[in-house]
């Protein structure tokens, strides 16, 4: 309730009143004495107002209940089931248990292993493909190096033999055939070896280099373990090796002899 002039009378002394309040009170009091009489009266009236109040009898309420029952009957006495205390309590418990179960279930379920494996497999595939391509590059570069080394070696041997030819006597006529008879099986054996290696490669799917240079071959065997790209590649490689070997067979006997000796030393 908003305070008015009557509250001011009870709460304030005469000298505490504002000009506005004094003007308002002018109608009922013009002096401090009159104000004090009003104040004392107001306090007593307030005491009466705050005194314990009388209450109507229980019979009055009972009569009113009868009137209510007559007017509305008992239809409205029932409360809808979902507003009844026991139902609300039961529903709350069920709800809490339900939320708890859902929480537990969602927290304890591991991530499906299939998903994890799939991820790893994909990574591995990517990785193996990369390794494969890297290996192929390494193989081709190593092969090129080997070929260059072989060509240089062959050129050096030829040059050496040419120098020897110019400085030494002519070879024995039969020696040529003998040399061939000796070298051919070796070369054939080499070729067979290469072919057998290639066939082995084709079977196992692994790639390896076959070189006349054993050092290079060992090096390649150590470093190359990537799968073969195709059987055709192996055949081409073997044919290259064979043609180079054939080139060696077409040398003169002294050169052949020297090459043979060189190969014997090497192998």
């Amino acid at each position: 309730m908003a305070k008015d002039i009557f509250d001011s009378i009870l709460e304030k002394d005469y000298h505490q009143l504002s000009q506005k309040e004094l003007t308002e009170l002018k109608e009922i009091c013009q002096s401090e004495n009159e104000f004090n009489v009003l104040k004392a009266f107001g306090k007593d009236v307030k005491s009466i107002a705050n005194a314990p109040k009388l209450t109507p009898s229980v019979a009055t309420k009972e009569r009113l209940d009868e009137v209510f029952a007559t007017a509305y009957g008992s239809t409205k006495k029932g409360v809808v089931f979902y507003r009844k205390g026991w139902f609300q309590l039961a529903a709350s418990i069920v709800l809490i248990i339900g939320i708890g179960l859902v929480y537990l279930y969602t927290n304890n379920t591991p991530i499906t292993p299939q998903l994890a494996q799939n991820t790893i497999t994909e990574n591995n595939v990517d990785q193996s493909n990369e390794e494969k391509s890297d290996n192929q590059k390494n193989i081709s570069s190593e092969m090129e190096k080997d070929e260059l080394a072989l060509e240089k070696q062959s050129a050096a041997v030829i040059n050496e033999k040419v120098i020897q030819k110019n400085t030494t006597v002519a070879p024995i006529p039969n020696q040529k055939e003998t040399s061939f008879t000796v070298i051919k099986p070796v070369l054939a054996e080499k070729k067979t070896e290469v072919v057998s290696e290639d066939s082995e490669i084709a079977k196992t799917g692994n790639t390896s280099t076959n070189s006349l240079n054993k050092q290079a071959q060992e090096k390649i065997f150590q470093s190359y373990s990537a799968p073969a790209t195709s059987a055709m590649d192996i055949q081409v490689e073997s044919s290259k090796r064979t043609s180079k070997t054939s080139a060696l067979t077409s040398m003169n006997s002294s050169s052949q002899n020297s090459v043979f000796n060189f190969l014997v030393v090497k192998y």
Binding site: M1, D4, I28, D44, P56, T60, K61
Partner: protein
């Protein structure tokens, strides 16, 4: 649709009246608990301190609410409306009594006062004052008495009184001023005795 039930004690008077109109017994019970006592005291004070009459008036008021809840305009304050109805009930009773006894406002001059006055001096100062106050209050004319009671006893604001009596606030204030000044002057000797006693 509200799932969880709100306690009826938390509802406003106006909301309770709406619920009562839809037949909710608990709404009626809460309203009764809130205002039955205040209403009983109002009727008791306004109707010559007649307890039985006050009981009957309380019963009649709530019976009206039960049987015709739509008579309450929910846009209004229930408290103001209640006192307005109660005040009209008192006025009607005054008229009935006036017709019967031919006295002013149906109030007999010696009603409930003489017997109390005899024992007044044997009671404490407050009791004496209270009795004298009730007597002087009842001697006030109706318009001043109701304004005074609404303001100082029932604790309504001037605005609320103006609303329920459908009179301007200035007029209400003027009536309260008059009733206050009149009663204070009539009972000033009690204040002087009180001052002497304490002095």
């Amino acid at each position: 649709m509200r799932l969880f039930k709100t306690s009826y004690e938390q509802y406003t008077d106006e909301s309770l009246m709406k619920k009562l109109a839809s037949g909710e017994k608990q709404a009626f019970d809460v309203l009764y608990d809130r205002y039955a006592s205040a209403l009983f005291n109002y009727f008791y004070r306004m109707l010559w301190k007649d307890k039985e009459k006050a009981e009957d008036f309380v019963h009649d008021f709530f019976s009206k609410i039960i049987q015709k809840p739509t008579s309450f305009d929910t846009s209004r304050s229930f408290k103001t409306w209640m006192y307005s109805v109660a005040n009209n009930m008192c006025k009607n009773e005054y008229k009935r009594q006036a017709v019967r006894a031919g006295t002013k406002n149906g109030l007999e001059d010696s009603y409930g006062i003489a017997s109390e006055s005899e024992n007044a001096f044997s009671q404490t100062h407050f009791s004496i004052f209270k009795n004298e106050f009730e007597k002087k209050l009842n001697l006030l004319d109706e318009k001043h008495r109701e304004a005074f009671i609404f303001r100082h006893i029932e604790g309504l604001s001037i605005k609320e009184i103006a609303d329920l009596l459908k009179i301007s606030e200035g007029t209400i204030k003027s009536r309260i001023f008059y009733a206050t000044k009149h009663l204070a002057e009539e009972l000033s000797h009690y204040q002087q005795e009180k001052t002497k006693h304490h002095g």
